[in-house]
């Protein structure tokens, strides 16, 4: 009986994590180059139940669910024109490389700006790398040569925050750089809202299961073995 309590609670915990991830997606609905996440869930190991009298196997019982992994959808998103010469977007696959104090990081958010020494930097002042691995220069008129900006191939990208990803770089990618445009956020508001409602109802169902089990336990404790049947 108590097993059911913990199984239902594990479902509620997993849905909480999903909600946290959905809240983060919705908060980034306007972040250019943002990639939406998904939390996958997996069942805990099965427990084999057997008949207490005969020892015959009854079947498996799962011990609940756990949030397993976060999967990031890195597919390219539609690009919109902004007309700003330092707004860059990659059409197709590939990543911008930026030089951070911790090493090279990758991003799809091309909201860049110029530094005082004339290099192209991201919002946090990290230099944007060209295809030759050197920082890209902004010309006197405030433009950059799109062909000089590096588009890197990246395997196993992992989110690091501040639009940056880590991963194993593997040469040039097929995407092309467009100036005066930004890649939209990968958050689909409609799908995310539906996910949010579905997750919410699953959470609610977990609570109902706990309440039902609780009621049964209450009856067991107060009515079973009561002389007047608990009335």
């Amino acid at each position: 009986m108590e097993r059911g309590l913990y199984i239902a609670a594990s479902g509620m915990v997993a849905e909480q994590m999903r909600q946290d991830q959905i809240a983060n997606d919705l908060a980034n609905a306007s972040t250019p180059g943002y990639k939406a996440d998904r939390v996958t869930q997996r069942a805990f190991a099965d427990l084999l139940l057997s008949n207490t009298a005969t020892g015959q196997a009854v079947g498996g019982l799962t011990m609940g669910v756990a949030a397993d992994r976060m999967v990031t959808d890195t597919s390219p998103q539609p690009v919109r024109d902004t007309g700003e010469p330092l707004d860059l977007a990659i059409v197709g696959d590939g990543w911008f490389g930026v030089q951070t104090p911790q090493g090279t990081r990758y991003t799809r958010n091309g909201q860049f700006t110029a530094a005082a020494d004339g290099t192209l930097t991201d919002q946090l002042g990290n230099a944007v790398l060209g295809s030759n691995g050197q920082p890209v220069k902004v010309d006197r008129a405030g433009h950059v040569n799109a062909a000089a900006v590096g588009v890197f191939a990246l395997s196993n990208p992992a989110k690091q925050g501040d639009n940056l990803f880590t991963g194993a770089a593997g040469g040039q990618a097929a995407g092309t750089v467009r100036t005066g445009a930004l890649e939209g956020s990968g958050v689909d508001p409609a799908r995310t809202m539906v996910d949010m409602i579905a997750s919410f109802r699953a959470f609610e169902a977990g609570q109902r299961a706990i309440q039902t089990i609780d009621e049964s336990l209450h009856k067991t404790a107060t009515q079973v073995a009561s002389p007047n049947g608990g009335a």
Binding site: Q19, T31, A67, Q111
Partner: protein, 246 residues
Amino acid sequence: MLEGLYSAAAGMAAQQQRIDGVANDLANASTTGYKHVRVGFRDLLYNAQGGSAGPTVLAGAGAAAGFIGRSQGQGALQTTDQPLDVAIQGPGFFQVKRPDGSLALTRDGSLRLDAQGRLTTSDGNILQPEITVPRGTSADKVSIAGDGTVRVGAGRPLGRIELVTVPAPDGLQPLGGNLFATGAQSGQPTAAGNDTTLRQGALEGSNVDVGDAMVDMIDAQRSFQLASKAIQMQDQMLEIANQVKR
């Protein structure tokens, strides 16, 4: 659980900042030489979550917005036929001296003559290098060529309006009154290239596109609403969790 509440709240704060930027742009839709702001977005730190789940599930902390500078796009030229209105076509700024002696940059070219005949901006900041028109000259007689050479009628040049640029216009500090100060973030001013020209009898309008600004505002408002829904949902989940024990 509470992470989600704060991530969504961070998203709302970011949209609020964007709305502030758009509101300022719309308020300056008719300001001479005004350049609209660029609002940048980024996601925040990711924290590993859940003991049993292992470190592979990350909870993001929401979004942040920041002003990453100003658009340097050309504003539309408005013909005023005032002889001392000068519009800059191309990148560059007028350099002016403020009353406290410090230098500032501006693209607002509604010039006038002060009591000593010097060319100044409408606020009285003196154009650098100083150009003095002989006393008693009517403003109608002043001619300003495309390269900045100032003459009276067909006379000899009195001086030249020199335009400057900085390596990082996004790093200029706004001083209000259409003025900007240079600093370590913007780099030192240098002479603008020959492709920048002046046009007498015109002013550069604001480069705020009211249509774009309105669309931005609607987008920001809806994104704000989306994040607020996430907060409501998290709140309801907390309520449900509280009802587990009746």
